[in-house]
């Protein structure tokens, strides 16, 4: 773990609690046990920290989705894989996920464009899986947008609940969440 990675990691914890804008470089430095100016031996700017956190994670989602798309699975199986992808990332990188969810709009220029593009592509891929599922009769013929947003909302905010509730076993969580989201609660 390089010093730079330590800084990014420390910053991500603070960002998770208060958000990017409310965390100063002096806050980050203090949490690292150093002075603000010293950070700049390792990073280019505060922006760079956000960029690393958000874009690296966005690429991970993109790559995960691409792997799922090329599998020879049914739409329903693909959705299960997507759910598992989110849970795995949540468990391993909940802090970066907070930044991706809440602070992406503070990215600048190409970083912002890249992120928005990746997110649009991701949602579009997910939407296509759902539509295909409806087409082949595996999924109820409801408004795909409602299904998409309902599942994605739950997955995207999982990081807020996981760990608060005593860190459920990951496999139990996957099973329960798949069940609740696919088959409902009734």
């Amino acid at each position: 773990m390089t010093r730079k990675e330590e800084i990014v990691g420390t910053a991500s914890q603070l960002f998770k609690e208060k958000g990017y804008s409310a965390v100063s470089v002096r806050d980050i430095a203090q949490a690292m046990g150093m002075k603000a100016a010293s950070l700049y031996n390792h990073i280019e700017s505060k922006q760079e920290i956000l960029s690393i956190l958000v874009l690296d994670l966005a690429r991970e989602f993109t790559s995960g989705m691409n792997k799922i798309l090329i599998l020879d699975n049914s739409p329903l199986q693909k959705i299960e894989k997507v759910i598992e992808l989110h849970i795995d990332i949540t468990v391993n990188q909940s802090e970066a996920l907070a930044a991706l969810n809440n602070d992406w709009m503070h990215l600048e220029q190409e970083d912002l464009e890249d992120f928005v593009q990746m997110r649009e592509d991701y949602e579009e891929n997910f939407r296509k899986i759902i539509k295909e599922g409806i087409r082949v009769g595996q999924i109820q013929p409801r408004h795909p947008e409602v299904i998409l947003f309902s599942i994605l909302s739950t997955l995207r905010t999982l990081y807020l609940w996981y760990q608060k509730r005593g860190k459920l076993d990951v496999n139990v969580l996957k099973k329960d969440m798949v069940a609740v989201m696919l088959r409902g609660i009734v």
Copy 2:
């Protein structure tokens, strides 16, 4: 609509886009077509704006939940009412909802305590409805926490999707969301 309410309303739109910390009082003033100092003829502080937005809405949720609890309905019917409560509030106050979701942690002192208490109570009430539903066999016997967080996540982030997708009819939305969340998609 008093001048103060106009300011709070304008601020809430900006908070929704960039978050409380990233919006300056000069930003708010500019959006109102006045100078920053002039705002203080109407408000006490930037904090007060946030406090009004978040706490007023939190009280609305609390009061809505209390009305649902005293109804002589089955657990499942109560959950439907909760879903409808969220959708109604989302449609009418999506900006304040953004502040409640993303900026509540920037409240101070008693305001912060009050909010956290109200949110805990709200979740606890919802949890009890779910548990009762499981007890009487109306709801599948899964981990109540997963059900609670799954539904609440979807409801809390609805404001991000509503209006982006061409403002679906509210009643259609209620019907579809109840269906997806209660009976799943399979």
